[in-house]
Symmetry: C2
Subunit: 208 residues, 2 copies
């Protein structure tokens, strides 16, 4: 979407100790297909802290229907993760002279992650403009989250309209060693329902 | 100061690609002498972004008097550094169940760093409470900066009163390979003036 607006894009991904590398491979593929100016994969070790099913030996829930996910913050919540990611992104933006940080967080569709809510993003943007030279010297940094209020179905339709091949992308929390999606974790269930609701054939490769 | 309040302290330092390791050695010494519960040194690679005299091949200014430092943001400013550090600290606090994050930032004494100002800390605390499970579920996280409005002389006097041996500590931006302070960078000049103003003998080991 940023590329479609004509923006010069610098992509930033995080190798943060998540359960698998397949999402980073997917990020590299997408960055290459879109044609970003630069793609940095920043290593940060959130396993040193733990506290999440994504960064510690806590089991990822499987087989829950989309309707069963709504209560509370999921075990896949990673403490302060999006705040850490956005802070790095603001640092990077400042160094390359970018005026916008764009993050793909999504508040709807049963997510339950506090750091995906618009009120957090707004508070973070305010803090970022007080923390940085870009903010103090007037240019400022804008934190945009164009997907935040869209449903998964709307996101999928929008992507398809922009020519995105979703076979390149990855959502599963617990893929097999080939990168095939488990089809049973919350992220798979939400993604699959998104394709159904959008009326778009699901190109995801699921494990047998 | 936190330890003197009777708090159980978890220390967190960052190996962020700074110019030297001596400040990390000093942090380890101080953590050990104080007797913290745990000291994590988190590796993060801010050199991947650059943009500062502390993380890129930009020269550290030398030989400026304390009075010459007041204008603008110094080249030793590291983009968004304190926001990144505090975000990690909030993640760590949440995992260990700590209710306070305490940072040693200092707004006075000619610093010019936007991310050392009280207005940033307040905005950050607000964002952190919206981003985290701790914030959402009511316990909350408080971000304290007990040194923020103190002069260097006051900080030194306070530390001496608590029995801190400042020979264990490190401030210099550009020490020699033995860790001896250069005596000429802004940080050395401010530190030296602090000891003078406090009327405390300066135990810093300066390079010949």
């Amino acid at each position: 979407m940023a590329h479609d607006e004509g923006l010069v894009c610098f992509a930033l991904s995080f190798d943060y100790g998540q359960r698998h590398r397949h999402e980073l491979d997917a990020a590299r593929r997408v960055a290459e297909v879109v044609g970003v100016e630069q793609h940095i994969v920043m290593p940060i070790d959130l396993r040193a802290f733990g506290g999440s099913a994504l960064t510690a030996d806590i089991e990822v829930p499987k087989g829950r229907g989309v309707g069963e996910m709504s209560a509370g913050i999921p075990v896949t919540y990673v403490p302060a993760r999006n705040m850490i990611f956005l802070s790095f992104a603001c640092a990077h933006a400042e160094v390359v002279g970018a005026r916008e940080v764009i993050a793909g967080v999504n508040a709807v569709d049963y997510s339950g992650y506090p750091d995906c809510r618009p009120e957090f993003i707004e508070a973070f943007e305010r803090a970022a403009n007080l923390a940085t030279k870009a903010g103090v010297e007037g240019r400022g940094v804008r934190v945009r989250t164009p997907l935040i209020r869209m449903t998964k179905a709307e996101i999928i339709r929008r992507g398809v309209g922009l020519g995105m091949d979703y076979a390149l992308t990855h959502s599963c929390y617990d893929p097999d060693e080939t990168g095939a999606a488990c089809g049973a974790c919350d992220s798979c269930a939400i993604r699959r329902r998104g394709f159904e609701d959008a009326g778009v054939p699901d190109p995801t490769r699921y494990a047998p």
